[in-house]
Every structure is written in C-alpha cells, then in structure tokens.
Amino acid sequence: MGADRVLAPFGRRAVGVTARERHGAYIVLRCSDGGGPRAAPGQFYMLTAGSRWGGGDGERPFLPRAFSVLRAPAGTDELQFLIEDVGPGTNRLCELDAGEELLIVGPLGVGFEPPRDRRLPLLAGGGVGIAPLAIWQDKLGSHTPALLGFRDAAHARGAELLSGPQVATDDGSVGHHGLVTELLARALDADAHVEVYACGPPAMLEAVRALCSERDVPAQLALESGMACGFGACFGCVVPTRDGYVRLCVDGPVLDAAQLETALVAGAGH
C-alpha cells in the first residue's frame, strides 16, 4: 500500500504539555509541537515523560510508549494523544499536566489510505483504539460513520471524541448491549460497498478481519504490538503476515487486513 508516511525530525524532542482533559476513563493530553510536521492519520509517536520516567524507585517505565495520534488540528502545532492508565508508562503519562514536558519521537509509521473503488469509509473502534479514527474522521469528514465499542459507561465517554458515533458497551450501560462487531455485521449486511478502518484490542480486530474477509470487504487495521524504539531498530514489534514477519513500526501500524491470517498479535505490551 502506498499509504501516507510523513517523515519525522531525527531524534527525540521536548514539547510542552498544554492541557490535560479527562473524558471518563481516558485522558486527552494536548501538547504544542512547534518543531514537528503534521502527522498523517494513523501515524504514531513514541512518548516519554520529561521527568520521573522510571529511575525514581528503580521501577518501570524504561522504554518510551507508542501512541497513535488522536488529533493534529490543521493550522496549529497541537498534537493530541488519548491515554488510558493501564500500566506504569500510561500511569505516568496520565499524570502530566499543562506546563510539564513530554519527549517525543515522530510522526512514525504509515497511516491509513483512502478507500478503494469509490467505497465509503466506515470506522470501527474499540476502547483506546478509537484514537487514530478521530484524526481519520477529521480528514474524511464528520459525516463518516463510526461504530465504537467500550467496556462500560466510563470508557464510553471516549465516544465524545468522534462525530455522531454509534456506541456499544459490554455491560449495556450505553448504546447497544454487546460487541461493536455486532454493529459492524449489521452495517455490512445493509451495505457492503464500504472500506472498513479499525483499531482496537486484538480480539476485536480479529473479529473485524474475519467479518470483512467473509464478505470481501477491504479493511485497514491499525495494530498494536510491544515496541521498544518505533523506528525499526529493535525488531521487537513484528507481527506475522502472509509474507512473513513485518515490523509494525515501519511497515505499519496500519496493515491491510488481506495481509493477515490473524490479527491476534501475541504479547502486545505487559
């Protein structure tokens, strides 16, 4: 795929955090990146807190953490990231507030490609994986339909970051009681002349891949894998494809679903 790859400035740079906003279970971190280019939808950055990133108690985190860009509003130097506190790295990043420093490398990887064959785009996101779909919807237009799945009401607050989404929750507290892939199956039954763009947990992505494969619907999946560097150095983030292992950081994170036999990637972080 000849997808969009905006080149990153070489090296790690410091940017200032300008705002920290809570959306239910999530934090949106805004920062001002005057030195960097505008990321393409689906690209990602490696993030490190400017201070107290490990070292303190001799505990993790040690490595930077990879995040798809949530938004990079045109005409500004702002970058936004969506973060859920699930481990030592995200915990520290969620603490950052306006005036603090964030160290970034990026934009990295290749993002989404426009739909093929005049198909209409359809977005499907799960949990914190909704992030790259927000910047993609910004580019495609706010009318682009989005199906979003969350665990519960606190996480479903993330839905407010996209325009006009249909929401599903595992516990039925908001929207459809069930899986986002059930909404996707219904949408594909109604109109299969679409191209699906999906990001979410491995089980969800695998269900999306299988649904689309059965119906011959093209899909682009933004995957996640444990990643040390983000620029092809460590060879740690490989995922199996029909052509062998590919490094998600330089050949992804967006992969064509047809390249994959499964989207169930082993060991995405710990």
């Binding site: 080149l7 040690f62 490595l63 060879f235």
Partner: protein, 313 residues
C-alpha cells in the same frame, strides 16, 4: 569530540552503535535524509548477517525491565546474498565506515562470510558474533577459549581487514577468551553482548518471550560491562570496543577509563534515536583538555597509555 584511530580506521569520535540496535535503512525511511546529515555514530555496525536468511524468533520478542529490557529477536536477516543485493548498497551510502557483523553455525560458515565481506570495498571491518553454538562441537564458540582460537585460526588468513571478536558475557572466563582471540590474530574485541535472562507471563507462568530466554541490555548491565571490560583490558593488548548500558557521556568515559578505545551505544538509541550524538558530545566535554587536569587524574594515564595499534594479520 576529538578523532580517534581504531584498527587503522580514522573515526570522528569514539562512539559507534552496538550491532542489532540500529537499522540505518529503516531509520532512513522514518527520518529521511536528515539521518545522514546528522548521523550519530562514528562507524556503523550492521545487524548480524548469517549465511542463510532468518525470520527470527516468534513474538513476543521484548520484555521491559526496571532499567533495561530483555530481547529475543533471533537474528532476523536476509542472509548473505540478500544482504549483498539489498542492504549493502544502501549501507554504503552512510557517511561513516561500515563494520559488518557476521555469525555462522560452524567455522566453515563463518569462513565463507568472512571471505565474502573481506573482499568488499564497502566494508571497513568485520565483527564476529561468536555467541552461537558450533553445531559440529556443540560449544558456544565464544564461551570457550579453544573454540575461539580455532575459529580465528580458520578465518584470520582470509582477509586483511580488521576482525573484531564480539565476546559473550555468558562465559566463565571472558578474559581467557579475549586472550585466545588476540593470540589467534583478532584485531580487536568488543564486549559485552547481552546477558541471558528470562521473564514469565504474569498470567500463565509460562515463558513470556517467543524464544523462551533472551538477552538483557540497558543500564541494568552497565556495571557488569564495566567489570568485564576492565578484566579484559588487563588481559589483552588489542583495542576494545566497550558497550553495556551506556546512556550518558559519563558512562562512556568510565568504559574508556577501564581500557576501551571505542564505546558503543545500544539500547539507549531505542529511547532516543539521536542518543549517540549526545553521548559523544558529553564525552567530549569530559575529556576536553581544559577539564582533564582536574577530572582525569586516575584515568589520564589510561587515556594516554592507550592500547597498542591493531595487530596486522
């Protein structure tokens, strides 16, 4: 930072990369031509090249530690022919000397690789990864002094280019292996490679890494590296490329004081792709003449009484 001579190579500064921790071709895809304009290493060491192509280990391949990580990458590479066809032309465009790291599963395989790359003008030097078993003897080549000597005896006559032996820390007597390498004609030694380690999946208790065990790197191994470099420096005359957890100029300075000529940055490049340039600058500050009088009293003699020039074959 002042220039340094290493095995006849004139380098702009003493900081290079550790093999397998920086893919200049992939980095050029991510950062573009800026990578070449601001290339952080004074020489570039390739990932290990083997005779046949390798896919590498199944994922997961990484486990983060409080001060480092464990990797079980498994030496994925395109094999000798794929490297010659695809990688070497691109690596030849780098603005610094190229050191090709090779590994074989028998002396004959290593010999074949040394022969091939020894004939290439693009290649300034070779590094031998001896952290793998000789399938004929079952011994890790670099864990046993006699194995190491036998390997060098076989490959040393094949090229006039510098041969650097990358020592494994997973050996009972690393200085003895280094000495055997020197006696059999190695031009230099490099150390340390990663230290074997493992992690268990917190949910299942099964090994987390696809390769069961992996190699520990990062600041977690810095003190081990310093001790091994210090011990090897006492045993050999040939130059030493030291590495292990280098994050700052001070860490590089310590390794030079312990006897190293060059210092490699590895895991720190994962955190900041430009880390090596910062380390080189910080090291330059530490060894500048203005400061050496106060700061280097004990180390100054080491810096001046450097290792003898490279042994010629």
């Amino acid at each position: 930072m002042s220039p340094v001579t290493f095995c006849g190579l004139e380098l702009e500064h003493p900081i290079i990369n550790a093999s397998g921790t920086f893919d200049a071709i992939a980095a050029r895809r991510a950062f573009g031509e800026q990578l070449l304009e601001r290339f952080p290493f004074a020489a570039f060491v390739t990932k290990t090249v083997t005779l046949a192509p390798r896919q590498g280990n199944p994922p997961p391949r990484l486990w983060e530690l409080p001060a480092g990580l464990i990797n079980s990458i498994g030496l994925p590479n395109k094999g000798r022919d794929g490297f010659l066809a695809h990688d070497l032309p691109e690596l030849a465009e780098l603005p610094v000397p190229l050191i090709v790291n090779v590994m074989g599963f028998s002396r004959e395989e290593v010999a074949s690789l040394v022969q091939t790359f020894g004939e290439r003008d693009e290649v300034a030097a070779l590094e031998l990864n001896v952290s793998c078993p000789n399938v004929k003897t079952g011994l890790i080549m670099g864990a046993d002094a006699r194995e190491t000597a036998a390997l060098l005896d076989r490959v040393r006559p094949l090229t006039a280019k510098p041969l650097i032996v990358k020592l494994t820390p997973n050996a009972s007597d690393v200085p003895a292996v280094a000495l055997a390498a020197q006696e059999s004609g190695a031009s230099a030694v490099s150390l340390i490679n990663t230290i074997r380690g493992m992690a268990l999946d917190p949910n299942t208790g099964a090994p987390w890494l696809g390769g069961t065990t992996g190699g520990v790197s990062g600041p977690a191994v810095r003190a081990v590296a310093l001790a091994q470099v210090h011990a090897v420096a006492a045993a050999v005359e040939i130059p030493i490329v030291a590495m292990g957890g280098v994050q700052r100029g001070r860490d590089a300075h310590d390794l030079i004081r312990a006897g190293a000529t060059l210092v490699a940055v590895g895991t720190e490049s994962f955190r900041d792709p430009g880390a090596a340039a910062r380390v080189a600058n910080e090291l330059g500050e530490l060894v500048s003449p203005a400061r050496s009088g106060q700061k280097l009293e004990s180390g100054a003699s080491l810096l001046i009484a450097h290792k003898s020039p490279c042994k010629e074959p």
